[in-house]
């Protein structure tokens, strides 16, 4: 291995400079000056990611008033607060499932395309512009005088404008618009990772398109789809700007991030805000673990078709 060769080349030189054997011993475990280069980044992430998280966890058990569980008891006894979990799941789960399901046939089709790069470039634009801009755009586009309603009325599909913004529909549409490209690009990278010769072999043996998908592509794809579902779900679960701007932030799109924001920046209760953030993280973790547990029911194995 290169590491071993590298180490052998280095070890005598370093021990000549500094005759303490502990350096050699550490070097044999691949700990030397180069390894230490990782330390600043580790300290940074520990200090500004891990520490705040633990600090928030501890803070959430130190409420302004009451015993250490007061924040959590308040959250789960006040429907105005605990309903936000349901409101968020009601948006995030369907949006994620729709995005993942639609991305499969589209990705299967796109991988055979020659100029894939153009399509992927177009799809990266909504991800890059972000949810705030999409919210502003959809307010114009989906509004009662927007182009979508006008087009539908022109063709006589509807007689009065549909109410598509400042409600559940608006947030859902924005989650699909901003979430689908991300989900799709992940699915595409998983599908292109499946060796095409496996499907060719099946086709040679007489399997039709549906049978090939059912018995070859899908089993190989399930692992990737589970990871994709998790990554997409945590993105949609943390919906904030579009829920405020496009939804009804006091009504049926009062998602959990709005509750956390209000606790932190309107009531200045950092302890309660931390508690809500921890509950948010916990619900995400629970859904992710369920999804990952679900995938172990399926086939696990190589997606390549190499010999041996």
């Amino acid at each position: 291995m290169t590491h071993t060769a590298d180490r052998l080349a280095r070890a005598p030189q370093e021990s000549a400079q500094d005759r303490t054997p502990w350096r050699v011993r550490l070097a044999l475990h691949d700990i030397d000056g180069v390894t230490l280069l990782v330390v600043p980044a580790v300290l940074f992430v520990l200090g500004l990611f891990a520490y705040p998280f633990l600090y928030g966890l501890v803070l959430s058990f130190k409420p302004r008033a009451g015993d250490f569980l007061a924040n959590y008891r308040k959250f789960f006894s006040d429907p105005f607060l605990y309903d936000t979990i349901y409101a968020t799941l009601r948006l995030a789960l369907p949006a994620t499932i729709i995005n993942v399901l639609i991305s499969i046939p589209v990705a299967l089709r796109v991988r055979k395309m020659h100029r894939r790069r153009l399509l992927t470039t177009i799809l990266v634009i909504p991800i890059t512009l972000g949810t705030v801009l999409i919210a502003e755009g959809l307010l114009n586009y989906l509004g009662p005088q927007g182009w979508l309603n006008r087009t539908l009325m022109l063709f006589g599909v509807i007689s009065t404008p549909l109410r598509l913004v400042h409600n559940y529909t608006g947030v859902m549409l924005s989650l699909i618009l901003s979430g689908f490209p991300f989900t799709f690009l992940l699915t595409l990278s998983y599908i292109t990772g499946i060796d095409a010769s496996l499907e060719q072999a099946a086709a040679t043996l007489g399997a039709g398109a549906r049978a090939r998908f059912r018995h070859i592509v899908l089993p190989l794809l399930v692992q990737g789809l589970a990871v994709n579902f998790c990554l997409s779900f945590v993105q949609t679960f943390s919906v904030f700007p579009s829920a405020v701007l496009l939804g009804a932030p006091a009504g049926d799109t009062r998602v959990i991030s709005i509750a956390a924001y209000q606790a932190a920046y309107e009531q200045y209760d950092a302890s309660m805000a931390s508690a809500i953030a921890m509950i948010m993280g916990f619900v995400q973790l629970a859904v992710v673990l369920l999804a990952l547990a679900g995938r172990s029911l399926f086939y696990r194995g190589a997606a390549g078709g190499g010999k041996g």
């Binding site: 590491h3 590298d6 080349a9 280095r10 030189q13 475990h29 691949d30 700990i31 180069v34 390894t35 230490l36 600043p40 580790v42 940074f44 992430v45 520990l46 500004l48 600090y55 803070l59 639609i102 046939p105 589209v106 089709r109 992927t120 990266v124 890059t128 512009l129 972000g130 705030v132 801009l133 999409i134 919210a135 502003e136 755009g137 114009n140 586009y141 005088q145 927007g146 182009w147 690009l185 992940l186 998983y190 095409a196 086709a203 990737g224 990871v227 945590v234 943390s238 904030f240 701007l245 956390a260 932190a264 950092a270 805000a273 931390s274 809500i276 953030a277 948010m280 993280g281 995400q284």
Partner: protein, 280 residues
């Protein structure tokens, strides 16, 4: 897999392409309404505005103090790009070249800030930053934005570094180069394309990063995307066209850098990196 043969397969393919087209057309139309509105004089109940003007850009520039906001945005983005390179590239080198005990744990530590959404860790992070006195300042915004970008640079750079032949480094060491000189004269020139790609992606992500900036910014440290959020939130106070003019400024800023970035990276890389690590 050959050509599609049966009629049902062709119909299926046509339906998929129609769906993709529908998505893209709607998205483009949405962008177009923003751009057209920003140039329109009055747009009520018609397909297009009554007339066209550029005065909304001047009024947006003054009303939203766009000069200040843009200056802040570029200061934040510049500092984030520079600092994430300084933290990230050496760490990536260490992870690419050494197999020290606990390496998997370190990689997991770097994966978490990328997989946990900013809203979830943003509130505890902002609380800590406010306690340290950095909340509400530009430094608070920079620090908060670095939390996901440092791990991002590390995970993007590891495969680039693994491609460099270690014998080149060994040769430099034989000739007496220390780690510092090795970086300046050997690694950085060899890794320039990778570093450039990673940093451009960091740049685009930071311009568009809403949540972390929103939680940590004070009135003087807002970036463009947060200023846009407040403008849309308080819609009705200002003219809609003015807000859309600002949205266009934001779009141009983002897409300009995105186009440059896309010359150096494959679009799928922008989302696929975290997943490749997660799948292990």
């Amino acid at each position: 897999m050959g050509q599609d043969k049966t009629i049902s397969e062709r119909l299926w393919a046509a339906a998929i392409w129609a769906g993709v087209l529908f998505f893209i057309v709607n998205f483009m139309a949405m962008i177009a309404t923003v751009v057209i509105n920003s140039f329109g004089t009055r747009w009520l109940g018609t397909w297009l505005p009554a007339g066209f003007t550029t005065r909304w850009y001047r009024s947006a520039w003054d009303e939203f103090q766009l000069a200040d906001v843009l200056t802040t945005t570029f200061q934040v983005v510049g500092a984030v790009v520079l600092l994430s390179a300084l933290f990230g590239v050496p760490a990536a080198y260490s992870l690419a070249r050494r197999n020290f005990p606990g390496k998997q744990l370190v990689i997991l530590l770097f994966l978490l800030p990328l997989m946990i959404p900013p809203i979830t860790f943003g509130i505890p992070l902002a609380t800590v930053l406010y306690q340290l006195g950095a909340g509400g300042t530009i430094w608070g915004v920079i620090i908060a934005n670095l939390v996901p970008t440092v791990p991002f640079v590390i995970l993007v750079m590891i495969p680039f570094i693994e491609q460099v032949d270690p014998r080149i480094e060994a040769a430099a060491r034989v000739f007496g180069a220390g780690t510092g000189r090795l970086f300046v004269y050997v690694l950085v020139p060899l890794l320039a394309p990778g570093i450039l790609a990673a940093l451009l992606l960091v740049l685009v992500r930071t311009i568009a990063m809403f949540e972390l900036t929103f939680f940590t910014a004070g009135p003087d440290s807002q970036t463009l995307v947060v200023a846009l959020y407040y403008a849309v939130y308080a819609a009705g106070v200002r003219a809609g066209q003015s807000i859309d003019a600002m949205a266009v400024v934001y779009m141009i800023t983002t897409l300009f850098w995105l186009l440059i970035a896309l010359r150096f990276v494959d679009p799928t890389q922008m989302v696929a990196r975290a997943k490749q690590e997660a799948a292990r």
